[in-house]
Symmetry: C2
Subunit: 144 residues, 2 copies
C-alpha cells in the first residue's frame, strides 16, 4: 500500500507544521489553489481527535483569511473529498468571477478559458498571499 500524500508533499510547500502542511497546487485555470494536508495518514475528517479537528480547521481558516486579505476573491471554496487519495487534505481555493468555472465547482466542466491578464495579476500576488499565510500560521494562539 502506497499513499501519494504519505510519500510526498503533494505540491509546492508553503508551510510545514508538526501536524499539517500547506501546499500550492498547480491546477489549470485556478491561480490560487491551496491544500492543507494532514501529515499523518487518516482517510476521514472524523478519524481525527476533537483537538486535531480543531487544529486542522484553524489552519484551513488561516489560509482562507490570508487569501481573502490579499486576493479579494469572489468566494472561497473548501472541500475534503479524498475519493482518489484517501488521506485527509482540504482544498482551499480562491475563486474569481472570471475564473474558468465560476460559479460552478472547480470539478465541473469549464465554462470559459481563464483570461491571461487576470490570471497573471493574481499570480503576481501569490508571494504576498503565501507570506500572509505563513504569518498567520506562525501566529499564536493556536488552539489545541
Amino acid at each position: 500500500m502506497t499513499c501519494a500524500l504519505c510519500d510526498a508533499d503533494g505540491g509546492a510547500l508553503v508551510w510545514r507544521g508538526a501536524k499539517l502542511r500547506v501546499i500550492r497546487a498547480d491546477e489549470a485555470g485556478f491561480p490560487a489553489f491551496y491544500r492543507v494536508v494532514w501529515n499523518a495518514h487518516a482517510p476521514e475528517f472524523s478519524d481525527l481527535s476533537p483537538a486535531d479537528r480543531q487544529h486542522c480547521m484553524e489552519a484551513v481558516t488561516r489560509v482562507e483569511q490570508a487569501l481573502r486579505d490579499t486576493l479579494q476573491p469572489a468566494k472561497i471554496n473548501l472541500a475534503a473529498l479524498g475519493n482518489m487519495v484517501p488521506h485527509l487534505h482540504w482544498h482551499v481555493i480562491a475563486r474569481f468571477g472570471w475564473d474558468s468555472h465560476f460559479p460552478a465547482p472547480v470539478w465541473a466542466e469549464a465554462r470559459r478559458p481563464a483570461p491571461a491578464g487576470e490570471l497573471a495579476a493574481v499570480q503576481a500576488r501569490l508571494p504576498a498571499a503565501e507570506a500572509a499565510m505563513r504569518a498567520r500560521l506562525e501566529d499564536s494562539p493556536w488552539p489545541a
Copy 2:
C-alpha cells in the same frame, strides 16, 4: 436581496438547532446527500467566530459519523462552496463505489447510472441514518 437559505430550510429538515440545521438534499444519483446549513447569513467559513466555527464543524463531524456508522460508505465528502448561494452550508455526502460519479467529485460528469438496487438499499437505511444523526446532534457535550 434575497437568499435561498435565509428564506427556506433548503431541503428536507432532519434536525434544527439554535445555530444550524441539517437537511437532506435530493440529488440524483447520490442517495445520502446532506447539508449542514448555518442559520444566520454568513458567506464564508471565516466570517464565523472561532467558537461558531468549532460548533459548525462539530455538527459536520456528527453527521459524518452517523453516515459512517449506518451506511458504511466508501468515502465521506465534505465541502463548503457557496458560489451560487453564498450562505454558509456544508455538503456532507456519503459516497459509494457504485454511485453515479465515484471516484470523481459529485460535481463532475457522471460515469454511470447509479444501480437501482444499491440506491434502494441505501434509501431504506436513511431513517436509521437520520435517527443516528439526531441522536448524535442532541448528545452532549457540545463544544462552544
